[in-house]
């Protein structure tokens, strides 16, 4: 007896696909390698629910951490920093723009919900082998057990062993991924609200870039949860491999936490967990083939993540792509054609969605982010400019115009920098 669909991975993509299939009463199995959904997943912290409002509106009692109403970006140079903050209570509201999340809580909740709708979520099943029938994918094999299915939806994350077994993906190249290293630090809700200047239930998202990565592609983040703070660094794996003289990832995280701004935010907190995870960073160029006869890939497994420079996306892409994969399965079922052609509705939907619109608009971002100036020289120049403005002495002040002019000459109005900013002008189009 063939299952309609087997989903590998009970993360957000897999559970969103299962939810859609369960809604229409399809028999669906989700195989999860951990001992429950969420036990192997890591996020930095924040999920944009604005673009998947129609899905999330039904997730009434989801364990969101905090609705983000404050966004901050900080350029770091040594102990000093220049910080910009956007404060907007309207980012909250009925369905906020984004929530901070912890995957251990969110995925476990979504797993329960999907099971309540009739799907089977089976833990402790690490799938790395596919069944074949006339060359087509026809199910999975796990722990010696065969599970035949009309279609396999591979939602097994950035390394996607299912995608590899299908010949659709390979172990990522160092330039195509970044590694996130994170600590969850427990603090009382009142302390969090005081330190981050928040109303109860509101949250903050802070991104940092600058000298703590020692000129390498990467940055730091701080997200507020209900009763904890997520703090971490993300580093390009290729950059981390280069130049052994510089700090390793754990030391870079420590350097980030030592910065005066960050240290004060975390003070007296208790370390609850230390985690790490790879993040697809190749943007649209990293998506590749994600449909074949009898198989679809969704979420990180399909490379659907995006570093936009000023923020990072992934979890909402996972939810949306999981759902679109499920829609394609329904179409294929209707036509009784589970070939790549029969499943191609997935690509059609994906290309018409916000996921693709953003991936396309920011397709040049990975190349631009390989410019080390973004992670060293530019933050330093901004800090230098502001530093000169605020340090007042007995001497006559430097004319404001020449300060600013000098800054622009050193960061934009010269051949090297102008070329970079000229290339960056097309972003978002």
């Amino acid at each position: 007896m063939k299952m309609d669909a087997v989903i590998v991975g009970a993360g957000l993509a897999g559970l969103a696909a299962a939810e859609r299939l369960a809604e229409v009463g399809l028999q669906v199995v989700v195989l999860e390698r951990g001992d429950g959904p969420g036990t192997k997943n890591v996020t930095g912290g924040r999920m944009y629910v604005g673009p998947i409002r129609d899905v999330v509106e039904r997730w009434q009692d989801a364990p969101w951490e905090r609705a983000v109403t404050r966004e901050a970006w900080t350029l770091v140079d040594g102990d000093r920093a220049v910080r910009m903050e956007y404060i907007d209570p309207a980012l909250g509201g009925e369905v906020p723009q984004s929530y901070t999340v912890l995957r251990g809580r969110l995925d476990a909740w979504l797993g329960e919900r999907v099971m309540g709708m009739g799907a089977f979520v089976i833990p402790e099943k690490p799938v790395a082998e596919l069944l074949r029938e006339d060359g087509r994918v026809a199910g999975v094999r796990v722990d010696g057990e065969e599970i035949p299915a009309h279609v396999v939806i591979g939602c097994d994350g950035v390394l996607s062993f299912v995608g590899q077994a299908a010949g659709l993906r390979q172990v990522p190249e160092p330039k195509a991924v970044a590694v996130g290293v994170k600590e969850v630090i427990g603090l009382p809700p009142g302390t969090i609200e005081d330190r981050f200047n928040l109303e109860p239930g509101e949250g903050a998202a802070e991104l940092f870039v600058g000298s703590f990565t020692d000129g390498r592609m990467g940055g730091g983040f701080v997200y507020t949860n209900r009763d904890s703070v997520s703090v971490g660094v993300v580093m390009g794996v290729h950059d981390l491999m280069e130049d052994g003289g510089r700090e390793k990832a754990p030391e870079t995280l420590e350097a980030f936490k030592r910065h005066p701004r960050v240290r004060r935010l975390l003070q007296s907190g208790e370390l609850l967990e230390y985690s790490a995870h790879l993040i697809p960073e190749a943007g649209l160029g990293g998506v590749g083939r994600i449909v074949d006869d009898g198989i679809l890939l969704a979420g990180d497994a399909a490379g659907l993540a995006l570093n936009m420079g000023y923020t990072v996306r992934g979890m909402e892409f996972a939810v949306a792509s999981g759902r679109m994969a499920a829609e394609a399965v329904l179409e294929a079922r209707e036509a009784d054609d589970y070939s790549a052609v029969g499943l191609s509705g997935y690509l059609r939907r994906l290309r018409q969605s916000f996921v693709w619109r953003y991936l396309e608009a920011y397709r040049d971002m990975p190349a631009l982010l390989s410019n080390p100036d973004l992670f060293g020289r530019y933050p330093r120049e901004v800090a230098e400019l502001v530093g000169r403005l605020v340090r007042l002495g007995k001497d006559a002040p430097e004319p404001l115009g020449s300060l600013v002019w000098g800054f622009l000459r050193r960061t934009a109005l010269n051949r090297r920098d102008a070329r970079f900013w000229w290339k960056a002008r097309g972003l978002g189009r």
Binding site: R33, G34, D35, G38, T39, K40, N41, V42, T43, L102, R103, G104, R105, D107, P123, E124, K125, P126, A128, V142, D143, V158, L159, F161, V171, P172, E173, P174, V177, V179, V181, E183, V184, S228, V237, L240, M241, G244, K248, A249, P250, L271, L272, E273, Y274, S275, A276, H277, L278
Partner: protein, 92 residues
Amino acid sequence: MAVDEKLTKNAFRHDEQSHIQIDAEVCRARCRERYCVRVCPAALYEWNEESDRMTVEFAGCLECGTCLVACREGALTWRYPRGGYGVRYRYG
């Protein structure tokens, strides 16, 4: 706080068998860079000068796969741990 101390805060279900196999000969003969040592967020890889071998403390693995991506010599056979074993994130 040192990395090994941070790892004590995590929940793990320990497996007797390692999910990471290292081809010692490849590391010894072909690899100079030892990227695995540099990139592992849990600092689990260590070059043992005495025995001329790369070692990994697989029990503390955070299962990120960065070592697999960074190893350019194909010395690693890296699979996820058996079902239910390995790190168990409570927050994630």
